[in-house]
Symmetry: C2
């Protein structure tokens, strides 16, 4: 039986990169027997401007019940003037599908892409497990006396034992499955004595179940410093929603930019459930429609999607091909090439077919 | 009349670097007529282990009433087992003295110290204004059903119009005084819709009073990415307490490490009030007592202190001498030299005396 994959190209450069990613998926479907049904969703800024639709319940329900994966391009369009519609969709997927583990590999595929002196691709290779359903993103809080000199504005960083534990477990399970020797917790428990004391305590409790793995603690500020000095000692990093967001953008910088960073959001304890796959980059309005967007992030994201569908070997193949694209300059300008989005896609498809 | 400067060497490498910084201050006192009275405080881990004293009210009161500055080394000692005593002192100073602007220059003094390929010292030169009395650091929140599977742990990110506005004003005032063309706000207003909507709104309101300066907005995740790609476009960054903490550690990485980063915490609207001066580094227990600590961060911090005392030209002089120390390898190992803390101090003092 074929697996239903929802494609949500979205805004800005989203449609351009998802178009190329779609070609890759179609190739796997037509030539490699990966039995998928592609279902393209007309959601995002265009749709919102047309009829105010953001994330309809019938679509959300069908995704939850029938889909195995959602492949999302990017959301955000200056014409709309705010991000409410984008949050409806993005958080509708992340929260609505309870995709608690946002998995973001920070892996450099070519020495040239690493912006650090005396460091090469081999030094940039870790995976961030970002909690994806709680923390500051719940947007609990409010504004009191808004617009007056006495205004108070609050957002709560909300963490549950259940939410924290399952994310940490996902990180350790991944470490075990991949033979990692360490897992790092990144927090700010020296300042956030309630929320991050829970993270700290839970981390070392969970670690006891994985005696072969060394649990290590690092403050988020120190982590960001180490990442620009020497990222080579990190293998798996578990962290909260906000810090995961920050550290993976920094990590994208170490990989060669947002055009090189893919991600998966999973309900990690049950691999049969639907997953969300998105390049880490945004909609990049200034690049949109110009054939300038780097499709490699979305190809790497497709690699994670194929792994989710039960084809783990394809990730390595896609990664190797992206690495060759960089090496041979068959890539876009942001990573040192001169090709357009479409030409990179053409080359990639042709090579995949060999 | 002489100005009272409280010295708080603290823990770990704190006493070693503050000893050198004290020599610099004494030299300014004895040879350059900078009329200061030095008052050394016996506070920190040693004192706490001896008699449980953390931050006594009589000392806090005398600082508030009589001192012009506090020069703090670092706090934190593994023998104590927790950081409560350290927070009593550090937050006692920052919050107790209402030092709302934590000013952290991110300035590389030598090309060799910049860890980025194709970037030199000229590309790393901005100042972070970190809000220092609110945000997540108020530690408002709690734990509910602690230790059970249903545990909930919360920290509130608390922001007031007054607190946000005065910090943003401090950043713009600095920008105006130093001829900066831009001020960046770094926030996460796309996720923290209450707390950071206030920051966003307030930023652009304040900016109207500074028509010659261009206000620019950047999300914190994007900022961390830009900083490893190309930090050269930033001049002044205003941000909240937590993001300021993170971004200045990353910034220290761009400057050559924590051994090169100084800071001042001021009640910026009233320069006559007491200020707190601290190197950005921590107590670094593994380095303590080994004559390995880099004293340059504390010398640069003394430069900021002298500026606070009304001697702005000395900052440039100290900075130039530190730059020469790096260039001529009259420095510690962390920045490519072979000297010990004391030997660097000896050289620095001798050069200052010329
Ligand atoms: C668009 C924004 C809300 C989002 C986030 O913060 O999660 C983005 O930065 C990301 O990392 O996917
Ligand atoms: C020790 C810690 C609480 C402190 C902070 O987070 O402010 C430190 O990281 C700093 O930047 O001065």
């Amino acid at each position: 039986m074929s697996e239903l994959i929802a494609l949500l190209p979205g805004d800005g450069i989203g449609p351009e990169v998802i178009h190329q990613a779609r070609r890759v998926l179609e190739l796997y479907r037509d030539k490699a027997g990966v039995d998928v049904e592609l279902w393209e969703l007309d959601l995002g800024a265009e749709r919102y401007l047309r009829d105010k639709t953001t994330f309809p319940k019938d679509i959300a329900d069908r995704i939850a019940k029938e889909a195995r994966a959602v492949l999302l391009g990017a959301l955000g369009d200056p014409r709309v003037g705010n991000l409410d519609y984008a949050r409806d969709i993005l958080f509708g997927l992340r929260f609505g599908l309870d995709l608690y583990a946002n998995i973001r590999p920070v892996k450099a595929l070519d020495d040239r892409l690493v912006p650090l002196k005396n460091r090469g691709a081999k030094d940039v290779n870790f995976v961030v497990f970002r909690e994806n359903t709680e923390g500051i993103y719940v947007n609990v809080g409010g504004q009191f006396k808004r617009g007056t000199p006495d205004e108070i504005a609050i957002n709560e960083d909300l963490n549950t034992r259940k939410g924290v534990e399952r994310l940490i477990v996902a990180g350790f399970e991944y470490a075990r499955a991949h033979g990692a020797k360490t897992v790092h917790l990144a927090d700010k428990s020296n300042a956030m004595q309630h929320a991050h004391e829970l993270w700290y305590r839970c981390f070392f409790e969970v670690a006891k179940r994985y005696p072969e793995i060394k649990p290590q603690h690092v403050f988020i500020d120190a982590l960001c410093l180490y990442l620009v000095q020497d990222p080579s000692s990190f293998e798996v990093v578990v962290t909260n929603n906000l810090f995961g967001d920050i550290v993976t953008d920094l990590g994208a910088g170490l990989q060669g930019g947002l055009g090189m960073a893919g991600s998966a959001s999973l309900h990690a304890s049950d691999p049969k459930r639907v997953g969300l796959f998105e390049p880490v980059h945004g909609s990049a309005p200034p690049l949109a429609g110009k054939d300038l967007a780097n499709p490699f992030a979305s190809f790497l994201t497709v690699g994670m999607l194929l792994e989710h569908l039960g084809h783990p070997a394809e990730m390595a193949r896609i990664e190797a091909l992206v690495a060759r694209g960089i090496r041979e300059r068959r890539c876009t300008r942001d990573v040192g090439g001169e090709l357009g989005t479409r030409a990179v896609g053409d080359w990639f498809l042709a090579e995949l077919l060999r």
